[in-house]
Amino acid sequence: MKPQSTSARPLLIAALAGVVFAAGLALGGMMDPRKVQGFLDVGGIGSDRWDPSLAFVMGGALLVSLITFARVGTREMSWSGDPIALPTRRDIDGRLFGGAALFGVGWGLSGYCPGPAVASLLIGGLDVACFIGAMAAGMLLARWWQTRAVNSQGADA
C-alpha cells in the first residue's frame, strides 16, 4: 500500500481516533458540563458537592499517554509513513500564562473545553453550536493577532 496522501488509510486512522476519543469523553462523563464544574468547584472538597470524576479521567488518560510518549521515542515513523511530529516549544512566557488563564476562565464558566464541546455538537442543540462557533471565532482571532504581533516585531520567530 502506498503511504501518505493518496491513501485513505490515514483518514480512517484519524476518524477512528476521533471516535475512540469521543467514547472516552462520553464514558468518563466529560460531556456533562456539570461534572466538569463540579470538579473545578474546589470549595466543595470534603463535601458531596465536589465531583472528582475529572481527576479519574485525567489519571486514566495520562497513564496511557505517559507510556505512549515514553515508547514513541524508539520509533521514527508512524504506520502511515508520516514522521512522528512532536511539539518542540519549551518557552514559558506571558502568553502561555495569559492564554491558559483565559482558557481556564471560559472552561469554568461553561464547563466545556474544546474536546467535549466538539463531541457534543450533535446532542447539545443551539447552545453548544453557539459555543463552538464562538470558539472558532476566538481561534481565528488569536491566529490573526499572533501573525500581526510577529510581523510588527520583525522576523524574530
Binding site: 484519524a14 474546589v42 481565528l140
Partner: protein, 134 residues
C-alpha cells in the same frame, strides 16, 4: 460498580485515542490545535477533518449509548463569551486539556505542566466566583 471506575475507563480510552493518532499518523491529539488548523487551513490536512468528524459522530453515538444528558450550565450569551475566550486562550497558549493536559504532561513537558496548572487554577477561581454569586 463505582462510578469512578467508568471515569477511569473513559480516561484509558482517551489515552488509547492519543496512542492511535500518534502511532498511526505521527500526530499529537490536541483538540484545540487540530480544530484551529482545520478551520484556518481546511485543505492543508484532511486527517484533521476526519478526526473531528469521528469526534462529532462518536459523540452522538456514545452520548446516546451512555445516556449523557444534554445540559448547559449557563446562559447562551455567557456560553458565547466562554467560547470566545476558550478559542482565543487555547491558541495563544498552544493547547487545551488534551494537548497540554493529556499529551503535554504525557511528554513530561514543563511548558504543558505550567499551562495545565494555570488553566486549572483559573477554572477553579471562576467556579468559585460563580458559586459566590449564586
Amino acid at each position: 460498580m463505582h462510578p469512578y471506575i467508568f471515569s477511569f475507563a473513559g480516561g484509558l480510552l482517551i489515552g488509547a485515542a492519543v496512542w492511535l493518532l500518534l502511532t498511526g499518523l505521527g500526530r499529537v491529539a490536541g483538540i484545540s490545535g487540530i480544530m484551529a488548523a482545520a478551520i484556518a487551513q481546511p485543505r492543508a490536512g484532511a486527517w484533521r477533518i476526519a478526526f473531528l468528524a469521528g469526534l462529532i459522530g462518536g459523540g452522538l453515538l456514545f452520548a446516546r449509548m451512555f445516556n449523557v444528558p444534554s445540559v448547559t450550565v449557563t446562559s447562551t450569551p455567557l456560553l458565547i463569551v466562554a467560547g470566545l475566550v476558550v478559542g482565543f486562550g487555547t491558541v495563544v497558549s498552544g493547547g487545551c486539556t488534551s494537548g497540554h493536559g493529556v499529551c503535554g504532561l504525557g511528554r513530561r513537558s514543563a511548558r504543558s505542566l505550567v499551562a495545565t496548572l494555570t488553566f486549572m487554577i483559573a477554572g477553579a477561581a471562576t467556579v468559585a466566583v460563580i458559586r459566590a454569586m449564586q
